[in-house]
Assembly symmetry: C2
Homo-oligomer: 177 residues x 2
Amino acid sequence: MTQHPERNEDPIKSALSGDDGIDFTIIELFFFAYRDFTSDPDQILGEYAFGRAHHRVLHFVNRRPGLTVAELLDVLKITKQSLARVLKQLIDTGHIVQVQGPRDRRQRELYPTAKGRGLALALAAPQSRRIAAALAEAAPGDRAAIERFLLGMVNPEQRTQIDDQTATGDDRRREAG
Amino acid sequence: MTQHPERNEDPIKSALSGDDGIDFTIIELFFFAYRDFTSDPDQILGEYAFGRAHHRVLHFVNRRPGLTVAELLDVLKITKQSLARVLKQLIDTGHIVQVQGPRDRRQRELYPTAKGRGLALALAAPQSRRIAAALAEAAPGDRAAIERFLLGMVNPEQRTQIDDQTATGDDRRREAG
DNA sequence: AAATTTATGTCAGCCTTGTTGACATAAATT
DNA sequence: AATTTATGTCAACAAGGCTGACATAAATTT
């Protein structure tokens, strides 16, 4: 036998592969796909001295106009101190405005301005183009499969939240309010 | 008409939706899916005082044992100074070893140790489970569609690099030496 | 009415992980 | 012998996370 018990410090020369019971193919594809997906808007953000954090805030404020600070924190899963920095910059540059909550005057409802709406669209455009290109090579019906898969990757507790946003595009917040 | 020309500072109350010609559904699903996907290993990494940067290095060293520092930098697209910090920690903790390149003695080939292999597997396991669960809800044939889509999202220049890794699992580096 | 809780803001400091620039060394190449 | 290449390292900086502490106004509870 060429094999002998390896010491802990010995280099392992064999590659980790799908044979190890782990789905490395999709793990790796997911990594590379997401990295290039986020690289598109990074170019544009650089011109504004903004980063990905600004992008995420701007995205969700445009997707759910009028959400409160607490709701935004819940979606982004960051602390209010982290949010404060980027949100302040977006407000100072006139991309987002705050409106005192009508029912609860402690709340601050967040809305995009025309400027903020424009930037959100500009940032999303190349991502949408990339998705369209990837889907163009796909078979009809692939889209449904991809949406199912991506939703299946999300923690179940969070899925309803997403369903609300992606199922249709209109503003249905608090209609029963 | 209720509508009047909006000033730049005015809040926009309508939500950005797919009607704007942008594929917000998949943009958002991709964001949430990736966030939860990366949250799995974060738990484990915390116990080692490691971060995602360590995970990425460990992953690729296990997937391509013997790659050089330059090759790893090319895959990760970070600077050598950024890599140096986390790589040093992984070496100091016995997860990765360096071997002087046999052909070019300036090069450092990177290999996982048994410890590093074990951690890489532990980190990948929950991600693989998440993927399996998402695929379990899918139709047969969905997997192929998903792989096509994810590969289609990657910059074309980088696809060959990925194909090499994911097509099969065995170590085929430099067989033509 | 008073006390408490809630939503938000803000100050201060810390950590990780990215960046650039400069310089050192050994090995390969010209 | 001179130059280029692969790697390492020092120093400084920035973005964007984090925790802890404290302030304020408004809502809620007692």
